[in-house]
């Protein structure tokens, strides 16, 4: 199983490579990728250094160009594809059909992966992208149970990558408009969810209100630990109850099911978090590397170590982790 790690800047990329990532995925400094945050991502100059650093050490570089261009911006997405291809990256991670069509026509030799943002959950859908654009890998959304992932793998014409660790999207990626409903900016159109530009923290008599474009996402009492107001992880009222109606602040962690993922034929494990620090990347990459190595050498004896679990929990949202949709009762 290949370990695919995130890098939002050059130090993070080095941290991923130095700690054992097989591949690192990156994005350019604009809205062509789904982590379009201020101060993040690669200029052309840094991009060249990044590709060299990883490839000189035998690792791969994937470039995420995984948002959905509208006609007025389409040229920018083409330019991103061309730039990545010019620097000899190992693969592009694409979501939009139009961009896939362009990339496969202009760069027929270049390896294309289907991004999680393409929202493909079954083999028939994978076949569409395989037949039309020659994709060579698919990244599955975080909505399938382990047995459903297994079923997709048996029927898929291409290898399957799944998420192994990181912030959890509870909605099907590529089909979630909650953020643009509240702010006008969504992952699809803008490459950001619940953008920081629209967040407001407000002291109240008994704590802190967190608002997203005016909408109250959560209220923290004095002493309660406050998280980032991702729309789907706030506390709302439904009926008589005020609770995390969609999901709690939590991160996905698959350490406990790595042998199962291996057994069903998962080809690559992805770590989420291009927006996170180099320290996060270093820590998570090191833990995942150790876990995958142990799982691959002796899956029967494999047990996630307490220390790994502690280290991953310490960098998780709300300091807690979940198996998410992989584990049926979560659904």
């Amino acid at each position: 199983m290949e370990l695919v790690c995130p890098a939002g800047n050059l130090p993070a990329l080095k941290a991923a490579v130095d700690n054992g990532a097989d591949a690192v995925y990156v994005g350019f400094k604009d809205d062509t990728n789904a982590r379009h945050f201020a101060g993040l991502n690669f200029t052309e100059r840094n991009f060249e250094k990044a590709v060299r650093y990883a490839q000189d050490r035998g690792r791969k570089v994937y470039v995420a160009i995984n948002t959905f261009p509208q006609p007025s911006g389409f040229e920018r997405w083409k330019a991103a594809v061309d730039q990545a291809a010019d620097y000899g990256v190992n693969a592009l991670i694409l979501a939009d059909m139009g961009v896939l069509d362009y990339a496969s026509e202009r760069w027929p030799e270049l390896r294309l992966h289907l991004s999680v943002q393409a929202s493909v959950t079954c083999a028939e859908g994978i076949r569409f992208y395989h037949e039309n654009f020659g994709i060579r890998r698919v990244v599955l959304p975080r909505v399938l149970s382990v047995s459903q992932v297994a079923h997709v793998i048996t029927e898929s014409p291409v290898p399957v990558e799944v998420f192994g660790f990181g912030s959890l999207c509870v909605m099907v990626e590529g089909r979630c408009l909650l953020s643009s409903y509240a702010t006008g900016r969504s992952p699809n159109t803008y490459g950001a969810c619940s953008p920081a530009s629209h967040v407001r923290w407000e002291e109240t008599g008994d704590g802190t209100n967190i608002r997203l474009n005016g909408v109250l996402i959560d209220h923290y009492r004095e002493g309660e630990k406050a998280g980032y107001p991702t729309l789907c992880k706030g506390r709302f009222q439904v009926g008589e109850n005020t609770f995390y109606a969609l999901e709690e602040p939590t991160s996905l962690n698959t350490l406990s099911i790595l042998p199962e993922l291996r057994k069903i034929g998962v080809s690559a494990i992805k770590v989420e978090g291009r927006q996170r620090s180099p320290a996060y990347v270093a820590q998570v990459t090191a833990v995942m590397r150790a876990a995958i190595d142990q799982c691959m050498s002796d899956a029967d004896a494999y047990q996630p170590k307490d220390q790994w679990m502690r280290e991953l929990a310490s960098v998780s949202e709300g300091s807690q982790t979940t198996l998410g949709a992989y584990h049926r009762p979560w659904q």
Binding site: P71, V99, S119, G125, C176, L178, N188, F236, A245
Partner: protein, 303 residues
Amino acid sequence: MLYTMKLSIGPIQYFWDRRRVLDFYQQAADSSAEIIYLGEVICSKRREVKSEDWLAIGNELKQSGKEVILSSLTLLEAASEMGSLKKLCRNESFMVEANDISAVQLLSAAGKNFVTGPSFNIYNGRSLRLLASKGLKRWVLPVELGLEALKDLQALRPAGLETEVFALGRLPLAYSARCYTARSHNLPKDDCQFKCLDYPDGRLLETQEDQGFLVLNGTQTQSALTHQVLEQLPELKALGVDVLRISPQYSGTLRIINIFDAARKGNELGSLGEELLTLLPLGACNGYLVDKPGMDYLRAATQ
């Protein structure tokens, strides 16, 4: 302009009991809507109306002169859902609305024409052209896109392809493996006790300041406000939009269709705009269409 935009009734997004569904389509048969989309698009556990029933309803509506389209499930997870989708795509009676790429693959492989629904991602002309070459006959503009993008897309649209706009309804915003209606009752999806039946317009989610924000509809999340574009019909017509979709709500849908029917024919709106607002469960929004946050509501300057 000489043409009149057509009206469609989108698939019922909620879980209604069988009697209610049958009554609704009996009324719809006499409505001024030309196109009716049928089928369960959210959750395969909702079986008050079975696939044979949908075909029967479709045949009756067809005899009433309606164009009938069968809508496919939006998020496919279980193998059994793929089995149902394959059956749907094999039907010889009606065109299918593909709400997922796997439906597109099945239909194009079988050489059949199809429609794509509002949660199917088509954001640019290259995607439109590619899908048209696969058999796309009508597409629904993704709900988060506005008039600016629509204008560009209309200019790039292949000949013969119809454009439909989600014109009224709570917005389909997100889909998940998790059932939020069941979760709101502290139940897992596998033991949901069909709680959706109790919420025929979805279950309201409010902020801690009592602002109605979202609606839980099983595994789907919708806007609490009802997106409606009555005031923008002249712009939509000028851009060559072919079809306006009304998404069913539990009550008042037929009256809403009458209001849109009057408006599309260019009649003076008079008090109809105000009446429309009284028919919505919580209130209106139209931000997406005017390139603002979807929850915003901007009244047209002429109103």
